[in-house]
């Protein structure tokens, strides 16, 4: 099959320039990686704007961008739920209410918090499931990238995997979390600069936003209006969207997934750590500009998405076809570089989260305790090698799955959804006991598994795959919540003195900054207010 897009020397120069800069940044960080904190937490020294943009980019992987353009072509403006109700509220909550316990307690990882708050068993359960999850996710990035470049550009599948793995390995091995975060910040700018030309040209061709809304089916143009029943393009009712996506999945992902929380922990002080997710919330609200508009434009300009061709259209190809449709060589290279950057940083983010969890929570806690710091830095570096190799392995496992977005949502509803209940109770209810936490988490994960089996057997049915994922998350979260409370009523509590700094009500409140404009609560409220305003505009 002939490749869809043909690149020329200028395009390759742009791609090469990016790879060169990444390797140089990684190499120049090498000499500063002296202690474990340097390598795993960037020496807790980064300013808020860097950790904030990295916090956002860690989630703005190429799969999300391609998948969300596809969702927009399929579901229309309702896709904004993934950004507004599905992220902003959770990010503000993390910054304002939860970060004082994460950053304030000086834990290095999410499982470490669970150990301090609950017990060793809860930490072990979370550390092991998270390690498996990150390696699976990192393999997905790698696989999807190789598949895309193979189909679209005609690059060799195996060579793409090995080459990307080698670049990521080099810069994470040298620069640890800092390399990973810096790449994410660079990727943030590349994604916007690479995709905005498509937005402008698309809008110009269809006659601006007014032209877009005049020509499209009205169901595609409202975020909330048609959510009364599940008879809308999403196939989910308002309860599923609000509870499943807005509450359980969004909060589960944004507040407990170590991949994103690690970015905030790398901040230079508590205020920067609290501002990290809040700074990220503002650009997050704007991401629909570069995903929803192209998705809608695709319906109007691409022959592959004309009403006649729609039933058999491959929605995931929408973004690539738009690139081919609008971008000449030159800008084409820039757009491809943006995708390459977000695939690589997606993988690097998972690899750095994996090596931190492995080194601190598994190796340093169960295998070889109490060794000097330098030993753990060395272990972390070599774990990077193992993590990258394992990702190459899981990339070939991902070959066996048909729909990657569903596969990812499934992984989240297994591990993140129940974990959020454990955290909510742990941080805000001092009555939650160690074994309550453990059994709640375990039963939550098992409930997700049980729901998945019943759904696959056809015992439970939903209007769409997405509805199934949302309700699976709701069930897993509720099971965790109820079991944690139930078991806590009958098991021994921890001494309240040990919980100071970890639980709301037992921890002195962080002093509010005298300058109102430096306060996380002010900015958090503003972010939530703005997203409400956006909802009213696109009701």
């Amino acid at each position: 099959m002939a490749p869809v897009i043909t690149l020329n020397a200028v395009d390759y120069a742009i791609i090469g320039g990016y790879i060169l800069v990444m390797i140089l940044v990684g190499y120049s960080l090498k000499k500063y990686m002296k202690t474990g904190e340097d390598f795993f937490l960037s020496g807790r020294s980064l300013p808020g704007w860097i950790t904030g943009l990295a916090f956002l980019s860690a989630n703005l992987g190429a799969l999300e961008v391609i998948g969300m353009v596809a969702n927009s072509a399929k579901y229309g403006i309702a896709t904004v739920h993934f950004y507004w109700v599905g992220a902003v509220l959770a990010m503000a909550f993390l910054g304002v209410f939860m970060m004082p316990f994460y950053y304030g307690s000086r834990v290095r990882t999410v499982p470490e918090y669970l150990k301090l708050r609950y017990n060793e068993a809860t930490r072990g359960l979370n550390a092991i499931s998270f390690a498996i999850m990150t390696i699976l996710m990192s393999g997905i990035s790698l696989y999807a990238m190789a598949l895309l470049f193979n189909k679209m550009l005609g690059w060799s599948f195996h060579a793409s995997i090995l080459f990307a793995a080698l670049v990521v390995l080099l810069y994470v091995f040298w620069g640890g979390l800092s390399s990973s975060i810096y790449n994410e910040v660079i990727q943030f700018f590349l994604i916007w600069l690479g995709l905005l030309p498509i937005v402008f040209l698309g809008l110009k061709q269809v006659g601006g936003f007014a032209g877009l809304t005049a020509k499209l089916n009205r169901e595609l143009l409202h975020a909330v209006k048609y959510l009364g029943t599940s008879n809308n393009p999403l196939g989910v009712d308002w309860f599923g969207v609000a509870m499943g996506l807005g509450f359980v999945l969004a909060f589960g992902y944004w507040t407990t997934d170590f991949l994103v929380v690690q970015r905030a922990l790398a901040s230079k002080n508590l205020n920067s750590a609290r501002m990290t997710p809040i700074i990220a919330a503002f650009p997050k609200m704007l991401v629909p500009i570069i995903v929803v508009i192209p998705g809608l434009v695709a319906l109007l300009v691409l022959p592959e998405f004309s009403p006649a061709a729609l039933p058999t259209a491959d929605y995931n190809s929408a973004l690539i076809l738009l690139m081919k449709h609008y971008l000449p060589n030159g800008l084409l290279g820039l757009a491809i570089t943006a995708l390459l950057a977000s695939f690589m940083s997606g993988m690097a983010g998972n690899v750095t989260a994996f090596n931190t969890i492995w080194t601190y929570d598994i190796y340093g806690s169960y295998i070889s305790k109490g060794r000097p710091d330098a030993h753990y830095v060395k272990v972390g570096k070599w774990t990077t090698v193992i993590g990258v190799l394992a990702s190459v392995g899981t990339a070939y496992i991902a070959l066996g799955f048909k729909n990657l977005m569903d596969y990812m949502q499934l992984i989240f509803s297994f591990f993140n959804a129940p974990l959020f209940a454990t955290f909510l109770l742990g941080m805000f209810w001092k009555g939650a006991t160690p074994w309550g936490g453990f059994w709640g988490l375990l039963v939550g994960i098992l409930t997700a598994a049980g729901h998945y089996i019943l759904y696959k057997l056809g015992v439970l049915s939903y209007h769409s795959e997405m509805a199934a994922n949302f309700y699976q998350a709701i069930w897993a979260w509720s099971a965790d919540f109820v079991v944690t409370i139930g078991v806590s009523l009958f098991t021994a509590k921890r001494d309240p003195k040990e919980l100071v700094g970890l639980v709301f009500g037992l921890t002195p409140k962080p002093k509010a900054d005298a300058r109102w404009y430096a306060r996380p609560a002010v900015w958090g409220t503003l972010a939530v207010g703005l997203s409400v305003l956006l909802y009213i505009l696109f009701w």
Binding site: V25, Y182, L327
Partner: protein, 85 residues
């Protein structure tokens, strides 16, 4: 635990974390891209831009990227001057 919150406030400079001013690599990369696209836009013929609605997007976007990249380099430069003083 409480005193930990206080000690955090000493901020950066304790160990080698944020030693690289990220504004510089971003600024260099974006302005280099901008220059490349601008030059390429000037050298290429109009027919190539039929797909982009007749607009020489390489030239236009190249200039935009020079401005953005330049802004990063300028802030990095001003900051370094301030630190030196």
């Amino acid at each position: 635990m409480n005193d930990h919150i206080e000690t955090n406030e000493r901020g950066s400079g304790m160990s080698g974390g944020h030693v690289l001013d990220l504004k510089r690599p971003i600024g260099w990369l974006l302005s280099a891209y901008g220059v490349l696209l601008t030059v390429y836009g000037l050298l290429t013929k109009k027919e190539m831009y039929a797909i982009s609605l007749g607009i020489n997007v390489n030239l236009v976007w190249g200039l935009v990227m020079i401005v953005i990249g330049g802004a990063f380099l300028l802030t990095a430069f001003l900051k370094r001057k301030k630190v030196a003083r």
